[in-house]
């Protein structure tokens, strides 16, 4: 499985030294399937060539056996369905809903916040005009003080909303 220094060992290749093989066992364990390319391909030859490494190999086998005792963690039952449906969940979250769809028909090609803001400003202005005109004492000739009072009460009203 390990793929570094892969390829076939040819007569011109540098042979793997005892020290190098010891390093490989120390890092990848006893199973040649996990060794890097050339060492994996020639595992039997190498082990025959370096009998002194049998003890190292045996130690590595013991550790591999212990590591293999750790079972593979499994995902919970609900997880696969949740992850498989992520694209749909994302689409749903992005979908604009009834109001958004209506707004996109009435006012297409602009973000939803634009018509909402315009509507809000228009409503506020309408309210202001309504308050100013419905109050019988709101005669502009009464001077700026009364007009100021009206504006303050309007702001308070909007604040209360």
């Amino acid at each position: 499985m390990s793929d570094d220094k892969g390829g076939k060992m040819t007569p011109n290749d540098d042979p793997i030294s005892e020290t190098r093989l010891r390093e490989i066992i120390a890092a990848y364990g006893a199973d040649p399937v996990r060794w890097p390319g050339i060492a994996a391909d020639h595992a039997d030859d190498l082990l025959r060539q370096y009998p002194r490494l049998r003890a190292t190999l045996s130690e590595a086998q013991d550790l591999d056996a212990a590591l293999d005792q750790l079972p593979a963690p499994e995902p919970s039952r609900a997880l696969p369905a949740r992850i498989r449906n992520l694209p749909r969940a994302m689409d749903k979250r992005r979908s604009p809903g009834l109001m958004g769809s209506l707004m996109s028909v009435v006012w297409p090609a602009v973000p939803l916040r634009v018509p909402v803001s315009v509507f809000g400003i228009a409503a506020a202005l309408g309210l202001m005009v309504g308050v100013l005109t419905s109050n019988p004492s709101s005669d502009l000739s009464e001077g700026p003080v009364l007009l100021g009072d009206n504006l303050v009460s309007l702001v308070l009203m909007i604040g209360d909303m």
Binding site: Y28, R34, P73, P75
Partner: protein, 202 residues
């Protein structure tokens, strides 16, 4: 946004009559075209592996599942962008998962304790089950004590079966550095488990 339906996913018959699954890369090309079936194939192929990798990098199961969910969310969201790179899909997927694990572990900044999943074989007798669980606990605890990068290197190469070059790419380090992490990890594990040699089932 509605997913575009591309061609249905098929398993190709190759020369000798055996069936060939579509490659990750061809599936991702379909994911880039918003093909949900292709996305689901990718999920089915890699979900267990990514959860196992995240859990073995010493996140608890809940966090490992969060990492898996975030990883696959990125597969769906960044599929079109991935298709413009030369990266091998599996390497990219593990890189995303690894980076998410590292982020979480750094945020947590505590020594994690490995949770040992209940994966016992129902055919084993009661004593053997207890014994296997004890061994798994010991091994899990020993792995949990390893530094974060050593755990990740071990999880990628030993348990997930990635080659040393691919693991190095995932962790963005050299092959020599991976080898050094693995040697140190195995040395520490041997030391930790030596005291329990009698408790570990051969």
């Amino acid at each position: 946004m509605r997913a575009a339906r591309v061609r249905p996913l098929t398993v190709k018959a190759v020369g000798d009559g055996t069936l060939q699954e579509p490659s990750d890369e061809s599936l991702m090309a379909r994911v880039a075209q918003r093909d949900e079936d292709a996305y689901r194939c990718i999920v089915d192929r890699y979900l267990t592996q990514i959860v196992a990798f995240a859990a073995r990098t010493s996140l608890d199961r809940g966090e490992a599942e969060d990492v898996a969910q975030e990883t696959f969310l990125r597969v769906w969201k960044h599929g079109p962008r991935w298709c413009q790179t030369d990266a091998r899909f599996r390497t990219w997927l593990y890189t995303v998962a690894y980076n998410l694990c590292v982020d979480r572990l750094r945020r947590r900044r505590e020594i994690p304790h490995n949770t040992v999943p209940d994966g016992a074989d129902p055919n084993q007798d009661q004593f053997a089950v207890l014994h296997a669980k004890d061994t798994a606990k010991l091994v899990g605890a020993a792995i949990g004590k390893l530094p974060e990068r050593q755990r990740a290197a071990l999880a990628l190469t030993y348990y997930q079966g990635l080659g040393n070059r691919e693991a190095a790419e995932v962790m963005q380090i050299s092959v020599e550095a991976i080898e050094s992490l693995l040697s140190r990890a195995r040395r520490s594990l041997r030391k930790s488990l030596q005291g329990h040699a009698g408790d570990i089932e051969p």
